[in-house]
């Protein structure tokens, strides 16, 4: 379980997060939605420890992130997996070496078992034929899948995804969403996803929080999101004509 308690973050004069509090339950897929520039990525970076909040607390299973010892911090990091918006694969390494990287650093497995584990993760995300390819030699969708394979290599308890669908075609986007949902259920992970993709919201959102200009504006799930009376949320959700039509049909 991840708890956020009154998280504030600002850069110079600009306040980006204004007291965000929420709970992400274990084994669930949680979405943080909001417009570009609303503070989603900053919030995600605060949760994983890449940015330090100005005030407020982030707790992983009741362990406070800000006051953890170095040893606890390293242990926690081995429980985290993250999928970045641009995949962030190491371009000097092959896809297999990318997945092997966390294993080489933190796993006590033999070299043979590390290779087996890396190949298992790559097979799991459907990259059986891409072991020896380099990130620049594969498509954006394959890069995302490789990044997911790297993120799950150490069997993490928590998976964080920063806009996993950005730059992908709708079909690949749906496949990535399905993969993340399957992996979350399979590994019983707590997954937190930043997105503004409404397809992801409809299919994945066991819990959804809507961020607007650094404030948590709304909290709910994929069932309740279309029945909210929050004006800002509705503007965001029904911005697409497709969803407007769906909503109209549902009302009729």
């Amino acid at each position: 379980m991840i708890q956020l308690e009154n998280v504030y973050k600002s850069f110079e004069q600009k306040e980006v997060l204004k007291g965000i509090s929420t709970v992400f339950e274990t084994g669930t897929t949680n979405l943080i939605i909001g417009q570009s520039g609303s503070g989603k990525t900053v919030l995600l970076k605060c949760i994983v420890g890449l940015l330090e909040p100005d005030s407020g607390d982030i707790l992983y299973d009741d362990r406070r992130l800000g006051t953890m010892s170095k040893k606890e911090g390293i242990l926690l990091h081995s429980d985290l997996g993250m999928l970045f918006q641009g995949s962030a694969l190491f371009d000097s390494m092959s896809i297999e070496d990318n997945v092997m990287f966390p294993l080489r650093l933190f796993s006590e497995l033999s070299e043979n078992d590390k290779v087996k584990r890396a190949r298992y993760c790559l097979d799991r995300v459907g990259l059986k034929d891409a072991y020896s390819l380099f990130p620049s030699e594969i498509s954006g969708g394959m890069q995302k899948r490789a990044a997911i394979a790297r993120a799950i290599a150490l069997n993490p308890k928590y998976l964080f995804c920063d806009e996993p669908n950005s730059g992908l075609d709708p079909l690949t986007s749906i496949r990535i969403d399905e993969l993340i949902t399957d992996i979350t259920q399979e590994y019983k992970m707590t997954t937190v996803i930043n997105t503004h993709d409404m397809n992801s919201v409809v299919t994945m959102g066991e819990k959804i929080i809507f961020i607007y200009q650094g404030n948590k504006e709304w909290e709910g799930n994929k069932e309740t999101i279309f029945h909210s009376d929050n004006k800002k949320l509705n503007e965001f959700v029904f911005a697409s004509k497709l969803f407007q039509k769906i909503a109209e049909k549902a009302l009729k």
């Binding site: 994983v48 990091h77 993250m82 970045f84 641009g86 190491f90 371009d91 080489r104 150490l154």
Partner: protein
């Protein structure tokens, strides 16, 4: 950042592997440019000194002697390192800067990797370890350039040139050059890594970081050259 960089590596095996890669990339790949520049500079230096010292009071071997001392004292350490600050410095800062803006460093940090130690330390160790070899090669090539002039032109005879480069040889000049180059190699790698590591923004900012890395490491090399000359030769 220095404390993080010089902490004990998380995995020694990976550290040695990375260091070997950096020796290849930063050191061995700089060998061709070092050899070419040194050969031609040695040749040009010999010609210019011979043409400038047309004084009957000065012995003919002065050309070899001056070429040798200029190469050993300044060219093979300071000037070579200024040239390498451009090649190696921009390589390091742009590589690390690109890793920073494409979130590769963030990805490592989430895994719990000490990124400064994993990325920067092998570069510093690799280049500092390899630079004496580059300097020695540069010395031989520079002197060889002068020798080629002595056999291919009638400016100076080969025997006079050879006598000149052996005349009153001071071994300390070689050590002086090596000590300077090791310190300059540290400056180049650490300054460039710093600018790359703290780059943010986009491609333009990585370019700016590379420029700053080269300019600032060059200035530091020139400043330390004065300090080291005072300390080691006075």
């Amino acid at each position: 950042m220095m404390y993080q960089t010089f902490s004990v590596p998380q995995r020694w095996g990976m550290f040695f592997k990375q260091t070997w890669k950096e020796i290849e990339k930063l050191g061995a790949d700089s060998l061709p440019i070092t050899l070419i520049i040194s050969l031609f500079m040695g040749a040009v230096m010999t010609m210019q000194i011979q043409l400038d010292i047309e004084n009957p009071l000065l012995p003919r071997y002065t050309t070899g002697l001056v070429t040798r001392d200029t190469l050993l004292l300044e060219f093979c350490s300071s000037i070579l390192c200024l040239i390498l600050a451009g090649k190696v410095g921009s390589n390091i800062s742009s590589e690390i800067g690109s890793m920073r803006i494409s979130e590769q460093i963030d990805a490592m940090e989430i895994m719990g990797v000490n990124t400064a130690n994993y990325i920067i330390l092998p570069k510093i160790v690799g280049f500092v370890f390899f630079i004496p070899f580059l300097v020695i090669c540069s010395m031989f090539c520079g002197l060889a350039g002068g020798f080629i002039i002595s056999i291919s032109t009638d400016l100076i005879t080969p025997s006079t040139y050879i006598y000149g480069i052996q005349y009153e040889f001071v071994p300390w000049f070689v050590y002086y050059s090596l000590i300077k180059s090791v310190i300059f190699a540290f400056i180049i790698t650490s300054v460039s890594s710093y600018y790359g590591y703290y780059a943010y923004g986009g491609a333009l900012d990585v370019g700016k970081a590379s420029t700053n890395a080269v300019v600032n490491s060059s200035i530091l090399i020139l400043m330390f050259n004065v300090i080291l000359t005072k300390l080691l030769l006075s």
